[in-house]
Symmetry: C2
Subunit: 318 residues, 2 copies
């Protein structure tokens, strides 16, 4: 892959895996007879909850940072996302010994700020609106020459996220379907590329919050359509599916099921109580979609990606 | 091992592993840079939380059940423990297609009863005192010819529990110490045998609740000493260290640190919030001992056994 704009292939994802494997964790795949019985399918949970920085975002960020030339790297990286991607980019930059600048709204939560600071990220605050964030990020890029690493609409990031499915399919031979959450679509696009290139039919599905159902609406209508004021307890999935990720999703994803916040919370509680894993609401949305019965997976061997574990316990259990 | 009463050896534990490995899960070993930094040691968490039935007890129960001759097996197994061992024995018996009878006090919690029932165990209720339970179990053995499988004071059970450390040492070469919780001592004895037979120095430590500190008192005084009315939030660790497990512990365990209920709860919350794993209070006591700073593990590569995940979330977080 020569360009940051081309559509990644299985080969790019394999190269990404070779590039990042010494930095990331090969996360375990867990099973639960109880959860499989409840779903009427053989579920294999790929636990990115245990990934470095607590989410799969470490993979895409690491691939982007390690793909830079030394000269590019010397000028640093930047982003205007404030969630798991920001922490992941700060972490990846720290591992390469370069600077990551994260633009965050002045209103960002202490937890998000602390998470970026913990990994040594440099934070630039701005007004709490999308335009202010983009402008601040552009100014940083202009002034420092930093490379902007978008949280999902970036081929290197998509290739990195695809390594989740690569490991899952290596570790669990014979999967009939893979399911993951969708927000901006980086993880889902990477998953679709891997599943579509493996030489045998592996169906790809996704779960999306009802309150931020732009990807499912877009997939159904064939046109990328935002929703106004997206809102969900799955706060990592509010992004609008990207113009780079959407065509890959259209080509390779069979169905996206929407789930309510209450279904997402049930899924989080069940994963905690039965699988014994702390999964954040956004990370549990793929499983919530399976549990909803809205996906045709009965009797299949199914890979379910639990994409992150940065759970606010009191919010979920309180 | 010909007899149920002899002290198990590393060879017995290897044989137990070969016997049970198709029934049990090879549980993953997780790490967290944050928890390692906090402890000043490189921690490797062996997560028996993800074991069949939710605890390491599945290993000892499976080894005991699979060690029976067909004739013995035909008469079933019995126990008068009502915790994780009871569920594990019911599960193991179910896998062999034989009957497990579990004597439980009439006052046992719905959760414990449901857990045994889920695995097809036959429950016999008795008055809520130790003597009534032992008598009921003896009567069942007399009447049915069932084999009594003690939760820890049994060589086959100890050998089964030793397979946790066997896998841990295979998966993490170069450990300098292993730590686990101690109640009746089956897991700790099995761990001490493995660590003591591997041909290089691996120190063995344990954690024990302050309110049930019989094992640490016994180890310090050289004599097996019960405590009256043991009590702790770690309700799986209230048992009195066994006369079969204690000599093995004396021979191979360097120190047992006691921890308060508040330290145990802190450990549970930290494992949930940082490692992202639901660990029950009893299962977190080894980690609580490490976190207390009362064990000499600074700078070591340490295996920490998280022994079970059957967590009552509301009790811990409420």
């Amino acid at each position: 892959m020569d360009e940051n704009n081309s559509t990644p292939t299985l080969r790019d994802i394999r190269e990404a895996h070779a590039r990042i494997r010494s930095l990331i964790r090969r996360t375990p795949v867990l099973t639960s007879s109880v959860l499989s019985e409840m779903a009427g399918a053989e579920l294999h949970f790929k636990c990115e909850t245990f990934q470095k920085t607590g989410a799969f975002k470490a993979r895409g960020a690491a691939n982007a940072v390690l793909s830079l030339s030394d000269e590019e790297a010397g000028r640093g990286v930047a982003t205007h996302s404030s969630g798991n991607h920001a922490a992941a980019l700060a972490w990846a930059a720290g591992r390469r010994g370069i600077t990551a600048t994260v633009v965050m709204p002045r209103t960002a939560s202490r937890v998000k700020i602390a998470s970026v600071e913990r990994y040594g990220g440099r934070i630039v605050f701005c007004e709490p609106n999308h335009r202010a964030r983009e402008e601040a990020a552009e100014r940083i890029v202009r002034e420092t020459g930093a490379t902007l690493v978008h949280p999902y609409n970036d081929s290197r990031v998509i290739a990195g996220q695809g390594t989740v499915a690569l490991e899952l399919m290596e570790d669990v031979p014979g999967l009939g379907a893979i399911i993951c959450p969708v927000g901006g679509g980086g993880l889902l696009a990477g998953t679709a590329i891997v599943a579509g290139s493996c030489g045998r039919p592996v169906r790809v599905f996704a779960g999306e919050p009802e309150g931020a159902a732009d990807a499912s609406l877009s997939l159904a209508s064939g046109l990328r359509r935002p929703v106004e004021n997206p809102s969900s307890i799955a706060d990592g999935l509010l992004a609008f599916v990207g113009d780079k990720t959407f065509p890959i999703i259209q080509a390779g994803v069979e169905r996206i099921a929407t789930v309510s916040d209450s279904e997402i919370l049930d899924a989080v509680r069940r994963l905690l109580g039965i699988l014994k894993v702390a999964v954040e609401p956004s990370g549990a949305v793929g499983y919530a979609a399976v549990a909803s019965g809205r996906l045709p997976v009965t009797g299949l061997k199914v890979g379910v990606i639990l994409s992150g574990g940065n759970l606010d316990l009191e919010r979920v259990l309180g």
